[in-house]
Symmetry: D3
């Protein structure tokens, strides 16, 4: 069984994330969507809220598992018998950042591979940061969220 | 009347900003230079100081209006009957960031357009960050500021 | 009257080009879509075909003028009293290329400005090159072309 | 069975290509390494030579199939029941180019996905172009080629 | 005597930094590895620890001097009769950032030059940020550190 | 004696090239400006013309040597006891290309180093391509050329 880990903060999950996970499901037998816990970072949504959102969005996908982890991503992958990470890339700047992390994980994780996907162009600029800015500014972020997801 | 909004922090305004605004004035009938208020960000110059600087720099340009706003940029544009944002781009990394914001604003603002300009090459590396670093390091930033602007 | 020149090869025009021209029309009073003639380049469609396509696409837009020119873009702009060029940017690599040309034109054209626009994200990867590849490969490029445009 | 197509010119195959194919083999059940035939392009090695090299390199990998195709990549994938393309990315400029092609293929190929991989950093600058330049300059390209591959 | 300054935070020094300094030593007669003190930034290792690490790593290189400085880099270079800065670049995003700083330093430092180097590809993704993340996650960062360097 | 090679086509030399060579002269004891001969490439100026231009521009600089070479750059460096290449970088796209070549040369040339320089921002968009386009379009390229250089 080919298991991939899709790590992230998901603060909150966007339609872009959703699409990437569903693409990963076509490639792998199981996709673990895993919230990396970083006690030094401030989040808009707490861990429980973020987990609930992910569970809601992927409720109908038995091959998607939702969880969280502390420590290094490579250790989490090892514990879960995963040899693959999945990450979305939006633009050239993203690639420069993500490839650095991918090399790191390959080196720390005995060849742990990162598979890069792009979501469809009309979602390619969606990001959690943008959603948070809209919320802070009093706007309606629903266009950027998975259909049916309610942030309240 | 074609009205453009040039949003930013202007902490402080640089010669690069100044040139971009004057370029925008050639294109549009009115340019609103608008300081976006973000209560969670720390600034070197307070809002009143930043507004005064902008007013000083554009005192001789009746088609330039200086103001500040809270909330989403798209809402500010709507209230001001502006269908255009103006942003300067310095390099490829800037473009990747700014195009994301532009897509967001188009989506939130019913097709609100972003017009990207470049300032002349010799100013293309000027930024407020650089000016603040020079000030913190005890240097003289006047080369990077609009002529005649006094930060004291 | 504010006149902009949108120069290009348009071999052939894509939906992305079309959208950019219509965006430019919102900003300027007149937009001249101008095919730069380069006798050393090979085209899939000859000049007359490319002009006809442009005329078809913009037939209902009296403020769009379609033409061709030889020689430097800055000279063409001068003859047409245009102080503005319009160019679309798709990604970071595009920006690096286009900003170089923009600086050149500013220097050769006494401050001739280039205004950079982005088309909507779902068209942001459209290019004449892609359309030509599809045609060479025997595919149907109509999704990438202005609605109603017939290449035969 | 999950089948991926790794399209390219392979003029000639490099160690970078080799590593990417072997990575793809970990992800997919079958990987078709397919030389796209472009009659307008000049190659250093003819089609038969390039096919032989690929067959040599992947002789011990039954899940790797080597072939060539004419026409659109999306049509080739369809005929081969492949829903996945694999492409390597070396740097930000590569990403800007490859994502454009990926969007095209998704649009032409009913959601045909492109999976982007990176090879290990020490191979990340390897390219067929570099190998050809070394050969033209009279140098020894063997460091850049799959082990045991003989170009003579 | 040609003196170069290699400024940085070195929190902590990586193998990439080490290689870049040793490359700079081939070019210049003396290389000053200088920790810029920024009282507003938080570090994982305090200044004394970072200086000690640098001194350890370059103990056998009499032409490498280790020190720290406050204030502007250009002022530090002037005091040390250095006309050259050395900086490593890992990718395109790095270049966009570093060239901005280089232009600034040239302008503030009467033509102070920045020499950009790349380290070998297999170290090209190493960074202090990555080392700190590994440490925070409870991993072993020794692959990314100069040989023999002990962080405890 | 530290000898650097500045390889290029110089078709024709620009003010940007000139500045980069003069910067290299500050760093190295001798700079060999070397035209790489590529029999498959078409040039606007023939080899003799390009050599003459370089000799004119650097006539007053005894530490600058002008020459041409065939074959690999690494072999030319070896013959000339040079351990350093110098290349200018204009933007992020340039960096992605040049770093690839630098890694190649390091690998082929036993650690042959490439030193990357930037010229001053107002020259940073100058290129031989731009000069050739201006000439083809019937314009005056003298702003982009070394002072006093006459192309006729």
């Amino acid at each position: 069984m080919k298991i991939a880990v899709f790590p992230g903060s998901f603060d909150p999950i966007t339609r872009g994330h959703e699409e990437l996970v569903l693409r990963a499901v076509e490639i792998f037998d199981k996709v673990i969507v895993a919230i990396g816990i970083n006690s030094q970072k401030k989040y808009m949504f707490n861990l429980q809220e973020r987990l609930s959102m992910l569970e809601d969005v992927f409720a109908d996908f038995p091959m998607v598992e939702v969880t969280s982890y502390e420590g290094l991503t490579v250790d989490f992958c090892k514990k879960n018998q995963s040899r693959f990470l999945v990450r979305g890339i939006r633009n050239a700047t993203d690639f420069d950042y993500e490839s650095t992390i991918a090399y790191l994980n390959a080196e720390m994780g005995d060849g742990l591979q990162t598979v890069f996907l792009v979501c469809r162009p009309e979602f390619s600029h969606f990001s959690s940061t943008i959603v948070r800015e809209i919320i802070k500014g009093g706007g309606d972020p629903s266009k950027f969220l998975p259909e049916g997801l309610n942030l309240d």
